[in-house]
Structure formats: C-alpha cells, structure tokens
C-alpha cells in the first residue's frame, strides 16, 4: 500500500520534472521550431549540454529518431 502511494507520487513528480525539462528545451530551441529567439547566440555554448536532453525528449515523445532535420542528435 505504502509502496503504491509512493510510486504514484514519484510518477507524478517525474512527469512534472519532464515537463519543466521540455519547457527549458523549447526556450533554448525556439528558433528550430520557427520562433525568433533573441538569445540564440548566447545559447551556443550550452547546446552541447542540451543534446542529451533533447535526445531523451524525442524518445519520451515516442519518436525513435530526431523529428527535426536541423537537429539530428542520433
């Protein structure tokens, strides 16, 4: 019983964490989806850190390969 409640709690937390993750990715990659991003140049140096996150995102969304031709991470 305790384990089940905890499991649900953890799932919810993971879901929320994933959403926050996605929001951050979107803010960084706005240009890729066609929205102007005033900070593009200032994000260049953090792109390598985000590549793995981006990969996790498209896998989580049920896409085996990167959906963005301009962002081929795998």
């Amino acid at each position: 019983m305790h384990g089940m409640a905890y499991g649900q709690y953890e799932r919810e937390l993971r879901r929320q964490a994933a959403e926050l993750n996605d929001l951050f990715l979107l803010l960084c990659y706005m240009e890729v989806v066609g929205l102007p991003n005033p900070a593009t140049l200032y994000l260049l140096e953090i792109y390598p850190y985000l590549l793995e996150q981006f990969h996790l995102w498209h896998r989580r969304m049920g896409m085996d390969r990167s959906p963005l031709g301009t962002l081929p991470c795998c």
Partner: protein
C-alpha cells in the same frame, strides 16, 4: 547656452547619434581627436554598417583596432566578422569538455544557429557590450559613431531585453533542476549566470551618468529637430544620459551673398526653436566650415568648436 563639451572627455563611453547626414562621424571623430590630445587613450568605434571613419581619417580601419594618432585607435565593427569570431570562440571553449560524438553534433548546431538571421546583429551587440564593459583595458574612453537613430536606440534597449530573456531561462532551468541538483553545480546554470552578470554590468555602465553619455548631432532644419526630440524622449525613457546637442554646420551671420543671407534668416528661426525646445541640455554650435571636413587638421579645427575653445556666436 553652454558652449563646451569639454566635461564629456571625462566620461568612459560617448555615443554620437542623430539623423543621417548631419555629421555624426565628423563630430565623433573630432571629439575622439580632442580627447586623445587631452591625454586620454581613446578608441573611436563606428557601428554604422556603412562605415565612414576610414574616409574621415583617410586610411583603412578594420574590425580590429587600428592606431590613428598617438593616443587614438579606430575600429569599424563588422557583424559578419564578429559572429565568426564569436562562433570560433565558443567552439574553442567547448573543445575538450565533450566527447567526439557530442562535439560533432554540437558544432553542427552552432554553425546552424550562427547562420540564423539576427545572429550578426547579436554578435555586434555582444562586441559593443564588451567594449562598454571596459573589456579592452588599453582604452580610457570609447567614442561610438553610431548608425542613424532608430538602429542605435534598438541597440541601447537590447541589454534590457536580453537580460529579461536570460533571466527567464535561468528561472526555467532552476525549476527544472528542482531540489535534485544545486544550481551551482549545473554547467548550464553557471553559463547563464555569467551571461546575466555581463549583461547587468553592460546595462549599469550604459545607464551610469558618470560613465556614459549620448550626444545628439543635428542641423538647424525641421526634420533633424523633430528626430532629435524623439530620440531624447526615447533615450530618457531608456534611462540614458543626454550629454548634449551639437548643432552642426551653422551658417555665418553676415554674408554679402543674398542666397546665404536668406538661408541664414531661415536658419535663425530654427536655431531659436532649438534653444527653446532643448533648453535643459548643453548645446554647442559648430559653424559651417569653408571646406568639407576630413583629415586630422580640419578635425582639430572643428574639435576646437566642440569643446569651446573657439566660442562661436
């Protein structure tokens, strides 16, 4: 009416702006020359994509500082050059931090992002920010010969915009890291914090009345007067200090020539208007010289009028 801009020599950053063709380059160059002769180590920076400082000094000036006089260097900022330099810098920084695979992909992303519209303007902005922050310690005073008003006002508002943007990103990143990871151990967060700090310093120096001032150049005609009034409003709104107004190319009062006399009569009306509308700012009149201005000698002559050594009535 104040007749001198001498006190401006003590600032660290001066902008010369105004409508196209009123003599921004001339006044900025003259100010740079006189400040260098007063012992300041000066860098004259042209931000107008259509550079004319090299014509003024009759020698090539490029995207790196070039010495023009003993205490004076010139620089013509070039967006393409700056964005290439920026990208090369980033690639250098991330080399050694990541494995081969990530580096290859990241490099591709970086090249792509750097080719997006706006990247050059952004790189230009970053270079200007560095100069304003005093990154280049060889110089005491940076004099900006700016592009026509609209472009420059946009540039002046950019640190604020970028700061808000990076702050939003930091917030989002902070929320993402949550309680699992400390902000101070996240490399992305650290990069964002560093950016934010630079932008803050850029803005603080830009808005400090002790450090920076904006000089508006105009001629005594209808359109430049209106544009100056608008620019003052917007600069005030942005919090930038107005260093004063240079009324350029004022005609001689007495002339035997009826054409010049008639032009002068009209000019007097506008000069009066300038006195009334801009009375709370320092104003300097620079006379129309008998020949056009280029080369050090004519610049020195004009500089005398700017700092009030040859008071013009």
């Amino acid at each position: 009416m104040l007749l001198s801009m001498r006190s401006l020599i003590e600032k660290r950053v001066l902008f010369f702006g105004g409508k196209g063709g009123v003599g921004k380059t001339t006044c900025a160059s003259a100010m740079a020359v006189i400040a260098s002769q007063a012992g300041k180590r000066v860098l004259l920076v042209s931000t107008d994509p259509a550079h004319s400082t090299s014509d003024m000094f009759e020698r090539p000036i490029g995207p790196e500082p070039v010495q023009l006089l003993p205490n004076l260097h010139g620089l013509e900022i070039d967006g393409e050059f700056e964005s290439q330099r920026y990208v090369a810098n980033v690639k250098e920084q991330i080399r050694g931090l990541f494995g081969h695979h990530i580096l290859k992909e990241a490099t591709r992303q970086i090249d792509l992002a750097a080719s997006m519209p706006g990247a050059e303007e952004m790189a230009l902005f970053d270079r200007i920010g560095g100069l304003i922050r005093g990154e280049d310690e060889r110089f005491d005073l940076i004099v900006f010969d700016t592009a026509p008003t609209g472009h420059t006002l946009r540039l002046i508002r950019m640190p604020e915009l970028m700061e808000a943007w990076i702050r939003a990103l930091s917030k989002s990143r902070h929320a993402m890291l949550g309680i699992e990871q400390d902000d101070s151990t996240d490399p992305v967060m650290l990069k964002l914090a560093e950016r934010l700090e630079n932008l803050r310093e850029f803005r603080a120096r830009l808005l400090s009345p002790r450090i920076s001032a904006f000089v508006l150049v105009l001629v005594a005609e209808r359109l430049p007067i209106e544009e100056t009034a608008r620019a003052i409003e917007q600069l005030k709104e942005a919090g930038v200090t107005i260093g004063g107004l240079v009324v350029n190319r004022v005609l001689p009062e007495s002339s035997p020539d009826p054409f010049l006399r008639s032009r002068h009569d009209q000019e007097v009306i506008y000069l009066d208007e300038i006195e009334k509308r801009f009375k709370s700012y320092a104003r300097v009149r620079v006379p129309q010289l008998p020949s056009d201005v280029h080369g050090i000698t004519t610049l020195e002559r004009l500089a005398g009028h700017l700092v009030g050594e040859k008071a013009f009535q």
